[in-house]
């Protein structure tokens, strides 16, 4: 079977602005793929092309095996889409909206009733199902939105900034939903986000987009380790400093550190920490404190673009 998302040299211009500039992407089946970038980087434009809402200026994309330009209706049958702030009629109840969505996808009435009940349960809205959406909190709306995008059991799920504007608790609840449905149903998930933590927590693989171009691609861990070795800091008593310095020098270059502390760039990566601690123990050094600082996705972003991702916290 072909990959659920295959993008070749995809571009979209608005006038003189190249919002998406020759991007290439492959997302494999069952993967959670994160598309990370600052506001205005071209994330939404890319998603709109992949979900058939926008025609590319050039290049091509295949989603769920179908070309988004050549056979958009086949694509639409296979994808679920939760768009950034796409409105839900506040006068309708969650249940009614789910039924409407079933009608839009042409599901038979009998099976759609059961499906709506199951989906409400999945996103934890069973009790609120008959309440008007106007009374829902932001987190509840996003979860309903997620349920709406799932009525037809899509192969590929697009989530455009699913947690923007949510409080941390609701955000984590939504992450859990996404993880579960990816695990339970094997749905391939393509999510865009401007939150470093979201990409880090949810996505197995990410692409960083800036100014319409993909500047980095890979698993969060590999991208981070590519930026540089994590910094290992060990606090020891003053008497032990020479011994500790000698023992640790085998594991990486020394980095500047405060008094009574030795810091090295741990070449072997995070997994090397036990070896270092063992060597220190063998040398008879008493360890007061250990900390390991991994490069963050923000460091990756900064390394790729020379800028920090605004508002991002890791």
């Amino acid at each position: 079977m072909s990959n659920p998302i295959e993008v070749t040299e995809l571009s979209r211009s608005f006038g003189n602005l190249r919002a998406v500039d020759s991007i290439n992407l492959t997302v494999t089946s069952g993967e959670v793929f994160g598309f990370l970038g600052p506001n205005g980087a071209g994330k939404s434009t890319a998603v709109r092309m992949l979900t058939t809402l926008l025609k590319p200026t050039s290049g091509s994309a295949r989603v769920a095996g179908f070309d988004v330009v050549g056979d958009p209706s086949a694509v639409r049958k296979k994808i679920g889409v939760a768009l950034q702030d796409a409105a839900i009629d506040p006068l309708m109840t969650g249940n009614e909206l789910l039924r409407l969505q079933c009608v839009l996808h042409g599901l038979p009435k009998r099976s759609s009733l059961k499906r709506c009940g199951d989906l409400l349960e999945r996103v934890g809205l069973t009790a609120a199902g008959d309440r008007r959406v106007g009374t829902y909190s932001g987190g509840m709306r996003r979860r309903l939105d997620l349920a709406l995008s799932l009525v037809h059991e899509p192969e590929v799920l697009f989530l455009d900034e699913p947690t923007t504007g949510l409080d941390p608790t609701s955000r984590m609840a939504l992450w859990e939903e996404v993880r579960n449905l990816n695990k339970d149903l094997g749905t391939t998930v393509f999510l865009t986000t401007q939150y470093l933590e979201e990409a880090d927590q949810l996505a197995e693989r990410i692409a960083i987009i800036d100014d319409g171009k993909i500047v980095r691609e890979g698993s969060p861990a590999s991208l981070k380790s590519a930026v540089g070795a994590p910094t290992l800091r060990v606090d020891v008593s003053e008497n032990d400093l020479p011994l500790a310095r000698k023992a640790m020098s085998h594991f990486g270059e020394e980095r500047p550190a405060r008094r009574n502390r030795i810091a090295i760039g741990l070449v072997s990566g995070t997994t090397g920490i036990t070896d270092v601690l063992k060597a220190l123990d063998d040398a008879g050094v008493e360890i007061h404190h250990v900390e390991l600082d991994e490069p963050s996705l923000d460091d990756v972003f900064a390394d790729a673009t020379g800028r920090r991702l605004e508002g991002g916290q890791v």
Partner: protein
């Protein structure tokens, strides 16, 4: 509907209020020399026009709803689902039709309650309702084109005064035979006059296929033009970036 009365109630009360005002203020107009229908009450005279006016005022609703859908991205929700593009347009036109039927039926019933008399009986009533509903579709389709073009509720609603003026510069509330100067010249050329006059004859003098054919024909022509324009605008919107 029941959850949001503000969306349909004004379309009902506004024309009724106007009708009440006209009926009380201008009722002696029928006694003016040269008035084409000397032996009818002014209420009978304005009935078809009030129905058409009421329906026209309501006709922007459907378009305005569509503009709202575009504004708040509900349209995107529809577009990423496998529903056909045409049905997005068709559903709006159907809603304009149903809305028109309902409004015309309610308005006629209220007029009859207040003593208006429809000479043509049942077939005239059905004709008036049908013509009014198709007129709602015609004007609705122009509104839909505007909605698709601009994606803005405000712009759609700003077409409302145009409809208002179009109704006034027609034979709706005064026979064109008695109008003079440029006002009369415009009113005589206003397609609404061509629709309202035969509709009125059906109400006052009785049903005739010729009158029915003329008014429905004109309405259908206007509707076809409007629908063609809105199909073009829908295509444009689907291709264009948003």
């Amino acid at each position: 509907m029941l959850r949001q009365p503000q969306s349909w109630a004004p379309g009902l009360f506004f024309p009724l209020l106007l009708a009440a005002v006209y009926a009380s203020q201008f009722s002696r107009a029928v006694t003016i020399e040269g008035f084409p229908f000397p032996n009818v009450s002014f209420l009978d005279f304005v009935l078809p026009a009030c129905v058409i006016q009421g329906v026209l005022f309501g006709s922007t609703n459907s378009a305005s709803d569509l503009a709202a859908d575009i504004e708040n991205s509900f349209m995107d929700r529809l577009l990423v689902s496998p529903v056909s593009r045409g049905s997005i347009l068709l559903s709006r036109l159907a809603s304009a039709f149903i809305y028109g039927v309902a409004q015309a039926a309610v308005l006629i019933s209220i007029f009859v309650l207040f003593g208006a008399n429809i000479a043509g009986g049942f077939s005239s009533i059905i004709s008036i309702v049908l013509i009014a509903a198709m007129l709602s579709v015609s004007m609705g389709s122009f509104g839909i084109a505007v909605a698709l073009r601009t994606g803005s509720q405000e712009v759609v609603q700003s077409t409302f005064p145009l409809i208002f003026v179009a109704v006034f510069v027609s034979s709706a509330f005064f026979p064109v035979q008695l109008m003079e100067g440029w006002y009369g010249a415009i009113a005589r050329k206003n397609p609404l006059t061509w629709v309202i006059d035969p509709t009125r004859r059906m109400a006052i003098e009785g049903f005739s296929w010729a009158d029915f054919g003329q008014s429905l024909g004109i309405v259908l022509v206007i509707a076809s033009i409007g629908i063609l324009i809105s199909i073009r605008q829908l295509r444009r919107r689907l291709v264009r970036a948003q």
